[in-house]
């Protein structure tokens, strides 16, 4: 009986943590429009997916910021969040290069090295599409910037 109560308490604690994490994540998304970026093309919150083919896709959220010298940010805010290790923008042709660890749907970590191009640059909901690789694994990714303000 004591074990059941303890297990129940632990489960409630985990559920509470998940609820708090989810709430914090949603709160972050809800406040994203207030930080709407018109200027540096990569700044803001982006959503899309990546995968090795059309059927095997993984949800992807990137939150990026520009400090005047470098892009920083994170992927998939929440329990499986990872940090962007390297992100560059080539404004001569509006292409991007990104390097970061990501967890796929099976929980395996991929060292995501992607290259893509920005489409519809002048729009708040501009997009990036391109290809990624991790050794022999490779595929495509797409991202669309979240609108707002």
């Amino acid at each position: 009986m004591k074990n059941i109560v303890m297990k129940s308490t632990i489960m409630k604690s985990i559920a509470m943590k998940r609820a708090i994490t989810t709430f914090a994540f949603l709160l972050g998304l809800a406040s994203a429009p207030a930080f709407s970026q018109q200027a540096y093309p990569l700044s803001g919150t982006w959503q899309g997916d990546w995968g090795v083919n059309d059927k095997d896709r993984n949800f992807l959220t990137l939150v990026m910021d520009w400090d005047g010298k470098a892009v920083s940010g994170s992927a998939n805010p929440g329990p499986d969040s990872t940090q962007i290790e390297h992100m560059t923008l080539n404004s001569a042709n509006w292409t991007v290069a990104i390097d970061m660890p990501l967890k796929d749907a099976k929980g395996q970590t991929v060292q995501f090295k992607g290259e893509g191009a920005i489409a519809d640059l002048g729009s708040q909901t501009r997009s990036i599409s391109g290809t990624w690789s991790d050794g022999a694994r490779k595929g495509t990714f797409t991202l669309t910037r979240q609108s707002g303000g």
Binding site: A34, Q37, W66, G68
Partner: protein, 377 residues
């Protein structure tokens, strides 16, 4: 370019297939956000109504097609402010009159035409705008001393018993002082190669500025979404600004007649903005966090806490949330307001830089009723 069906008919004369009109397009950047400025079309019909209003006057015209169908077109023209400054009144055109128009059709395919030229049945041009009409109106005014409050400080608004507001900026967009760069009233460069001279832009910001310029500024959020012309852009609007000084509350309201008819509040006692207008990193604003004080006869306003949802200058110069402005307002005489702004934004520029220009006092008027949201149809 054929007009959208069912109007691509003989009466509409889809002529003048001028594949590219770069100069004309550049002269009308806000128009490019709504109309296809790369090809000119002509139509002819009978006026059904004249909507004499800001931000743009519309003339509605019934156009008959060869198949007998009649389509009502909306011809869009400059603002009521501009037309009346050029001496026009709505009575110049009445329902029933026959007109012909040439211009650009709407990008979304609706029956709208930006009328570059409008003529009556006798071929007389209607509703033409003289670019120098306002400056001619203000030329030759007698010089007068700067009006002052009882405490000796300059009045930035109208003297007691008078009306008026500030307009006719001598510079239409931010350009670093000392640089000679030709551009039109909307900040479109005469020569795109001059882009790097405008301001000390970082590489990405220069490329984005060039993109916006070469795209005829059609992504300008002020025209697309009616967001405020915040920052220095407040003082680049033809439709004017007004200072409402509340000495007893130690604050100044800055009313803006262009864009979406908005206001900015400036405290003169260095108190913090609080609540929804705190203007902090967590709460960035269009008009930012402002703090002002007088240095002699000059009002100096420091501001930061801007969001990135607007263009802070005509012409599309980028800024980031790291933007800080130092603005200096000096009413050098009754009719002249000297404006100077120092831009500090390490997110977009390589160093701080300064731009300045003058505005003219338009007496006997109040700010016009002008809301960009009201751009019928």
């Amino acid at each position: 370019m054929p007009l959208p069906a069912p109007v691509g008919l003989p009466r509409l004369l889809p002529c003048l297939l001028l594949a590219a009109l770069p100069l004309a397009a550049q002269a009308h950047h806000p128009i490019g956000a709504k109309f296809n400025t790369t090809a000119t079309n002509t139509l002819e019909g009978i006026v059904s109504a004249v909507d004499w209003a800001n931000p743009h006057v519309h003339v509605y015209v019934n156009v008959s097609g060869a198949d007998g169908n009649v389509v009502n077109w909306a011809l869009e023209l400059p603002s009521r402010v501009e037309l009346e400054s050029s001496g026009w009144r709505p009575e110049a055109l009445v329902p029933g009159a026959r007109v012909s128009a040439s211009g650009w059709t709407a990008l979304n395919g609706t029956h709208q035409l930006w009328a570059e030229a409008l003529t009556d049945s006798k071929g007389a041009k209607l509703f033409t705008v003289a670019d120098d009409a306002m400056s001619k109106k203000l030329a030759g005014r007698p010089a007068a001393a700067t009006p002052r409050w009882p405490d000796g400080l300059p009045r930035l608004g109208p003297p007691p018993g008078e009306t008026g507001y500030w307009t006719l900026p001598s510079r239409s967009a931010l350009i670093e002082d000392g640089q000679q760069v030709a551009m039109d009233a909307y900040g479109v460069l005469a020569n795109l190669a001059d882009a790097a001279k405008v301001a000390p832009l970082q590489d990405w910001a220069l490329d984005l500025y060039r993109f916006r310029q070469s795209n005829t500024l059609r992504d300008d959020p002020m025209f697309l979404y009616c967001v405020p012309p915040a920052g220095p852009r407040q003082f680049q609007q033809l439709f004017g600004v007004q200072f409402v000084e509340q000495k007893e509350r130690q604050r100044i309201f800055l009313l803006v007649a262009g864009g979406n008819g908005n206001w900015r509040m400036i405290y003169t006692d260095q108190r913090d903005q609080v609540g929804q207008i705190s203007g902090t990193d967590d709460n960035p604003l269009f008009y930012g966090n402002n703090s002002a004080q007088w240095e002699g006869d000059t009002l100096v306003v420091e501001s930061s806490g801007f969001n990135e949802g607007f263009w802070f200058s005509n012409g599309g110069l980028p800024h980031t949330k790291q933007l800080k402005l130092t603005e200096r307002f000096t009413r050098t005489d009754k009719n002249t307001l000297h404006y100077q702004v120092t831009v500090s934004d390490p997110g977009a520029y390589t160093r701080p830089w300064t731009s300045s220009w003058d505005l003219q006092w338009l007496p006997g008027e109040e700010l016009p009723e002008y809301y960009c949201q009201d751009n019928r149809p």
